[in-house]
Symmetry: C2
Subunit: 217 residues, 2 copies
DNA sequence: AAATATTTTTAGTCTAGCCTAAAAATAAAT
DNA sequence: ATTTATTTTTAGGCTAGACTAAAAATATTT
């Protein structure tokens, strides 16, 4: 498995979570910031290796083997993110690019020892679940903050967008995983929300609320 | 800097320690398990980038910039080896291959935070010195065990060969870094040595003794 | 249903990093 | 000082993984 093949598998895995149909060539190209023709090439190679099922013009789906490989990459990515934050004091907006590299290190022993060293974490610093060594991944109970009606309280449990601009915005608003958010009111006009966080009121746009995962309490 | 360029620089660095002259094409090809023609190719690219000085048929030497880059790769390699042994309970014969991968991770912050997390170690699990972030590397005082005369005592401080067969042999003989070795006698015929280690006597061949670094006490 | 737009695939190129085989330079032996 | 052996370089090829441009298939409008 090359570095590049691993990246394709991971992207296909993430895209396949969003839709039940086959993952399209263009969608992959967009995420990878490459060209559809390059994607077609690679997808045909992955099909040769039986990591995906490919039918011309119909997109691709992961095989069981392909999904397992993708999950192992996701596992490594998220474990390394935990390592960086918990052990090396990185902040949650600094870990992604380094984890993109570390996820390709090939050593089962390393992955499993790291998992143990970190205390078998179940979630990464962004609230995403960490697959175990068998590829089992917990389904985390969560909704988007934008779907919560006024008057309800919820705990922040994850982010949909984990770009550093978004994460730094949350830091500035003092919103972290585990924070309790009360939806004070919701504007009909732009769907912006007024929240109470730590006894302070903040207003966030619908776009912000649509990228924060919460759990009602 | 590609993965491959980094490997070349590192190999050139290691070979340049052994001889004062330019590092030869064949020597590089041997270590890299590749062909001299491939080496010539790459060496010309590195010369373009001013990482080495190359004169046809005369071998290469690192420039200051090239040496610094090589040292940063060596630094990462050895820090990761310490991490694997100290934090993840790898044994000293299991770390090299994984460190070969980890040494290519590009993040100064990661390297320096890791260094700090490990308590700024000065040596790796094989007794090799770890360059600091400026590229300074301590010269460790050491001799080969094969050069120690009978009757003297010495502390084991490093290995020249760090193949897992050799390291496992040392484990079996209960020789570790820090062990005190007394040279009880030396055979004239084959230069084999009888040592006292932990009040037990062991006989080791000249080949073994030629791969163990010690410091007289 | 036909026309138009979009998506996807194919065909052909390019570069990095490897290779083999042949030529050129250097080193060693006679 | 030649001849012979070794080392190194050049020339030409191959594959992975990207690209552009053109063709083919599918989706959307009219
Ligand atoms: Mn990430
Ligand atoms: Mn994450
Ligand atoms: Mn090593
Ligand atoms: Mn080492």
């Amino acid at each position: 498995m090359t570095y590049s093949e691993e990246n394709y598998l991971k992207v296909i895995y993430h895209l396949s979570l969003a839709s039940t149909k086959g993952v399209t060539t263009n969608a992959i190209a967009n995420v990878m910031e490459s060209k559809p023709s390059s994607v077609t090439d690679m997808v045909q190679k992955l099909a040769e290796k039986e990591l995906v099922i490919y039918r011309k013009y119909q997109g691709v789906e992961l095989t069981d083997q392909g999904r397992f490989m993708a999950l192992m990459i996701v596992r490594k990515h998220r474990l390394w993110e935990v390592f960086l934050v918990d052990k090396l004091d990185f902040s949650w907006d600094e870990v992604h690019d380094v984890a993109e590299q570390l996820e390709h290190i090939k050593s089962e022993k390393l992955t499993n020892k790291l998992d143990e060293f970190l205390g078998f974490p179940t979630e990464d610093p962004h609230g995403d679940p960490i697959p175990d060594k068998e590829g089992k991944i917990a389904k985390i109970e969560k909704q988007l903050l934008s779907e919560i009606p006024a008057g309800r309280r919820a705990i922040c449990v994850g982010v949909k967008d984990s770009s550093s601009t978004f994460l730094q915005y949350l830091d500035k608003q003092q919103i972290a995983l585990g924070s309790t958010l009360e939806v004070v009111s919701k504007e009909d006009f732009d769907l912006s929300l007024t929240l109470r966080v730590d006894n302070k009121e903040v207003t966030v746009s619908n776009k912000i609320a649509g990228n924060l995962f919460v759990k009602l309490i």
